[in-house]
């Protein structure tokens, strides 16, 4: 790790000021991804602003049934929180599916949103061709080993995927990311938080330098949110990233779906929601044919690469499995 300056911020304005003063400064909350990247010299901040002691870790109710999660809430605490487990169980499941107990104890909500891709070519500076690390240098994954890479929304500049389980659930829940920066506070709808690679893969999110994530708001979902599932398909039973994952929340009325949320992980540069697939579920009966038709629509236009062709069919089946699991849940708690 290269040497760096270290400051500790005690409050949000102080944190914003410290970061704004230095274009090469980064916030550190849990550090479980940033320190890893610094050891590999993928990230080389000149200054770390430690925000871990700022009191932003509360999880509280919002009027209208939603929940506000402080950006410094640890992943383990979010997953075990009674409000989250009761009202947004898909988020609890997604969090528990990720990483390991030790990592979940340190990793923060805001940090989880900011984690970088695990593309092998990005993570190892020994590979010179990576447009995300070095704009204009090329993409080694395009004709390299691209088993864990994207099948949707990619570009010829970058085919990396977003690795976060939490973000897949937040996408399905239409969360809102609240931030504060030098120009004041703003709210970023979840779909606008992470970017597609396009011609600028070196920019992962729409957060501006100097902005600090202060909380994540979960608005109440239509229905009870109790017909949910998070299905994660991976090479190991635990402690592995998703090849493909799906978060599903169904609003169920008798034997019919009233409305649906479906988000896919492991397939794109950001969690992938398809309005057409969700619309294809609405008003339909709870059966496998319904789910399969929606899954086919969700994967419309998928463009796999040499080593990840399996992801197209796998993603469809994962959606079907997630819908069936969500349907079977019922209101029992």
């Amino acid at each position: 790790m290269r040497p760096f300056e270290y400051s500790r911020a005690n409050d949000v304005p102080g944190a914003v000021k410290l970061l704004g003063a230095d274009p090469k400064a980064r916030f550190i909350g849990g550090g479980t991804n940033l320190i890893d990247l610094m050891k590999y010299q993928v990230e080389q901040p000149a200054r770390l602003v430690d925000i871990s002691r700022i009191p932003l870790n509360k999880i509280e109710e919002l009027p209208n049934g939603g929940v506000r999660i402080g950006a410094l809430a640890r992943n383990a605490d979010m997953a075990n929180d009674p409000l989250v487990r009761q009202r947004f169980p898909v988020l609890s499941e997604a969090l528990l599916a990720g990483a390991s107990p030790q990592l979940r104890n340190l990793a923060t909500a805001g940090g989880n949103l900011m984690q970088r891709t695990r593309c092998y070519y990005f993570y190892d500076p020994g590979f010179s061709q990576c447009n995300k690390r070095t704009p204009g240098s090329g993409c080694a994954a395009l004709d390299g080993i691209n088993r864990i890479h994207a099948i949707l929304g990619a570009s010829s500049d970058c085919i990396a995927t977003n690795p976060s389980d939490m973000s897949v659930a937040l996408a399905a829940l239409a969360a809102v990311v609240r931030v504060e920066g030098p120009k004041g506070a703003r709210e970023i709808p979840f779909d606008n938080f992470h970017r597609l690679p396009g011609t600028t893969p070196h920019i992962d999110t729409n957060l501006q330098h100097g902005e600090l994530i202060t909380s994540i708001d979960l608005p109440a979902v239509p229905g009870s949110g109790q017909n949910f599932s998070y299905i994660k398909v991976r090479d190991r039973n635990s402690y592995a990233f998703a090849l493909v994952s799906a978060a599903v929340v169904l609003e169920v009325d008798g034997n019919q779906i009233k409305s649906a949320r479906v988000a896919l992980g492991g397939v794109a540069h950001k969690p992938w929601r398809t309005a057409e697939a969700e619309a294809a579920l609405a008003g339909k009966p709870l059966n496998e044919r319904t789910y399969s038709e929606a899954a086919a629509i969700a994967l419309n236009g998928a463009k796999p690469f040499e080593h990840n062709r399996f992801k197209v069919e796998l993603a469809k089946r994962t959606i079907v499995r997630a819908c069936a699991t969500a349907a079977a849940r019922g209101k029992q708690a």
Partner: protein, 215 residues
């Protein structure tokens, strides 16, 4: 002390320096220099860590990980460096009751906090119940992952007593005591890997302590 028992660590450390000086003068000189300068590194800060109940003051650079502070600065070598990237769990310690990977956090970030390492488990000659259980159930072979396994398991039992859920728990919406299946133990220990494959015995050790604590 007048007579000092020479430990293997002392012997190998001395032999390495002496041997290097005899065969490769230039390299040995450089090594000696770097050892000397590491104690006068620039931009060091005072950090106070409370380790196994004892206050330890260090003067270190911000980039020193908690793992390196424990092993290199405090000679608390029970905690192991397996991968140094948060992927094996051999570096697991307990901070304010939570198990964490000490390789992926900076010592300076934990200024003033309570840190428990494997060295703090036994009370004199009395082993911690988890240590006893690992021995009784033969939960180790080479022993390298073992301090991390034991620290992780001790924290796991506390998490279970607080009824925390895991990915394997059937319904996260339900509260109350968790049903401890082998799958639950494996999932909750999945952050600690063992190349020797002592897993079935580790699961048995954890189960025995949990059931003993609930009796």
């Amino acid at each position: 002390m007048e007579s000092k028992e020479v430990t293997r660590r002392d012997f190998v450390g001395t032999a390495a320096l002496t041997g290097a000086a005899a065969l490769l003068p230039a390299e040995a000189e450089a090594q000696k220099q770097s050892t000397a300068s590491s104690h006068a590194a620039p931009h060091t800060t005072e950090v106070t860590l409370r380790i196994n109940g004892k206050e330890q003051r260090l003067s270190i650079e911000p980039r020193v990980t908690l793992l390196d502070a424990l092993r290199e600065r405090l000679q608390l070598t029970g905690t192991k460096k397996g991968c140094d990237h948060g992927q094996c769990g051999a570096c697991t310690v307990v901070i304010n009751g939570r198990r964490v990977n000490s390789c992926l956090t900076l010592a300076i970030m934990h200024d003033g906090e309570e840190i428990g390492t494997v060295e703090g488990l036994a009370q004199g000659e009395n082993l911690h119940p988890m240590q006893t259980a690992f021995i009784k159930n033969d939960g180790l072979q080479c022993g390298y992952c073992t301090p991390g396994q034991i620290c992780s398991a001790v924290a796991l039992v506390e998490e279970l007593r607080k009824d925390t859920v895991s990915f394997v728990t059937p319904d996260v919406r339900k509260h109350g005591p968790i049903q401890i299946t082998d799958d639950e133990i494996r999932e909750r220990m999945s952050g600690n890997i063992c190349r020797c494959g002592a897993y079935p015995n580790i699961v048995a050790a954890v189960r025995s302590v949990y059931e003993g604590s609930r009796a």
